[in-house]
Symmetry: C2
């Protein structure tokens, strides 16, 4: 197993354990059904790619690994809330997520809305846990950064534009860039910035982390769009061509298949250049970027 897969798996196990301890338990919770729905949404699956990025960004700047995992768990709560709400009938109307029924299918719609709401709240609660993050200024900074990344000018704004694009009569292919930057890019940026902040990175390093996060997030989306066109359903584990069928513009529409492949390779080079000052500490991130650009699923 290469260093990327090994670290990703280690991180996933650590995040699962952290979330299991942090999430309310149905037998002691104020609202047992809500607690059960939150656990259904946040436990038992997920690549935990965002916590991996927080942790590896912290490693670049010798940030505290336990703190990085804690921030990663908060970020994962935020990400899981967004999945619960995106899956709702009024949004993408999905029945399955990670091979299990979505929260509104396993419970009901009202419970899913509230479980998503409470998972968002929990992300901010975890970021202000003073035992896990003793520096108050850092706690406040992380909350501010996560709020900016996930609100109207970030993730939620991107989801709104994505929904509007589905029903639009005409397509602006450039819009796919804006949607990716907001809907998925903003949290990737938060992940890299948060890790760097834990290592007290300076302004120049923070700018480099932004660029690196953008390269990673964009490469991820571009290869997703390429796979959506060319992979078989068996390789992908889902129906290929689904995004195109839903009327969503993709990076393949914007750049063509060859152009998209070329852009992904350029982003790999950009990411490797951004990581060059960090020597061995960046090995897992380099391996992650190679994986993202060459993956078949």
């Amino acid at each position: 197993m290469d260093v990327f897969r090994q670290r990703l798996q280690e991180t996933a196990e650590a995040i699962e354990a952290l979330l299991d301890r942090a999430l309310p338990r149905p037998d002691t919770a104020a609202a047992p059904r809500l607690a059960a729905a939150m656990r259904h949404a946040a436990l038992g699956g997920g690549k935990r790619l965002r916590p991996f990025l927080v942790r590896e960004a912290a490693r670049l700047f010798d940030g505290d690994d336990a703190q990085a995992l804690h921030v990663g768990a908060a970020l994962e709560c935020l990400h899981c809330y967004s999945l619960v709400h995106d899956d709702l009938p009024a949004m993408d109307d999905d029945d399955l997520r990670r091979g299990r029924p979505t929260v509104h299918r396993a419970f009901d719609e009202a419970t899913a809305i509230l479980a998503g709401d409470a998972l968002q709240t929990m992300a901010f609660q975890l970021l202000t846990d003073e035992r896990a993050l003793p520096d108050a200024a850092l706690r406040a900074r992380l909350v501010s950064e996560l709020a900016r990344a996930s609100g109207e000018a970030g993730m939620v704004g991107g989801q709104m534009l994505d929904l509007e694009a589905e029903t639009a009569e005409t397509h602006d292919p450039e819009q796919v860039v804006t949607i990716q930057r907001l809907k998925t890019g903003a949290l990737f940026r938060f992940a890299m910035r948060a890790g760097a902040l834990l290592g007290r990175a300076g302004a120049e390093d923070m700018a480099r982390m932004d660029a690196l996060a953008d390269a990673i997030g964009l490469a991820f989306q571009i290869t997703d769009d390429i796979l959506d066109v060319e992979a078989t359903a068996e390789e992908l584990g889902k129906t290929p061509g689904k995004d195109a069928a839903a009327g969503k513009a993709t990076f393949v529409d914007l750049l063509g298949l060859e152009g998209a492949r070329r852009r992904a390779r350029e982003l790999l080079e950009e990411a490797l250049a951004a990581l060059s000052p960090h020597g061995e500490k960046a090995d897992a991130l380099r391996a992650a970027m190679h994986f993202i650009v060459t993956r078949r699923y």
Copy 2:
């Protein structure tokens, strides 16, 4: 106009202006439709009772008034998000709010879910605005307190229990106490605690503010339940008996009409006792408590 109504009106105007400046504008927002829905939800109405409580609690301890208004605006974003989600078809399915169409009626369901999500995020973003609240430890503390008050063990948990109570076959009248404490009580508590924190209140004062918030919140709910039984629709501006018809247990069920009236008067006495150390600074809160217990709408 008495001191309560005057201060409430002043606060409402100040909060409206603050939110108008803080909320994204459709002409410059990343997601214009989302920004419009957020403004529909948060502007143009509401008593702004929670910001009034933050401000008056800060006054008791000579806390900064501008900071209290800022925290009040954040709390109002949180409150408005909860109203948007509570009104959704999967929840209370309401068409009107403050005499205007609810967000999912004026826009659509997906937009309402996202506008609620983004308003929650904005509450935490406002609490970490370092220009408005220069003390980082205070910012982190306020986020932590608001998250606890509004998550699974607070407001959202209370809404879950409230929904479950509607469909339950049997009623536990004691449950009405738990639901009130979580669904509305937790944010009243946050309001009083936040104001006191701005004035650097000590542990003993904080405990007194908790008791005061509980008296205010409980008196508010009890008189609501009394009015639901005895007021006419004309006085109330809504259909009386609606909660009983929805199968919800009320404090009148639990205590009887006379018992409920007696409990409200006791709570008034408790609140006045908790305010006694504060002399004139507490005049608006005393007037508020008298209003809550004697109101006819």
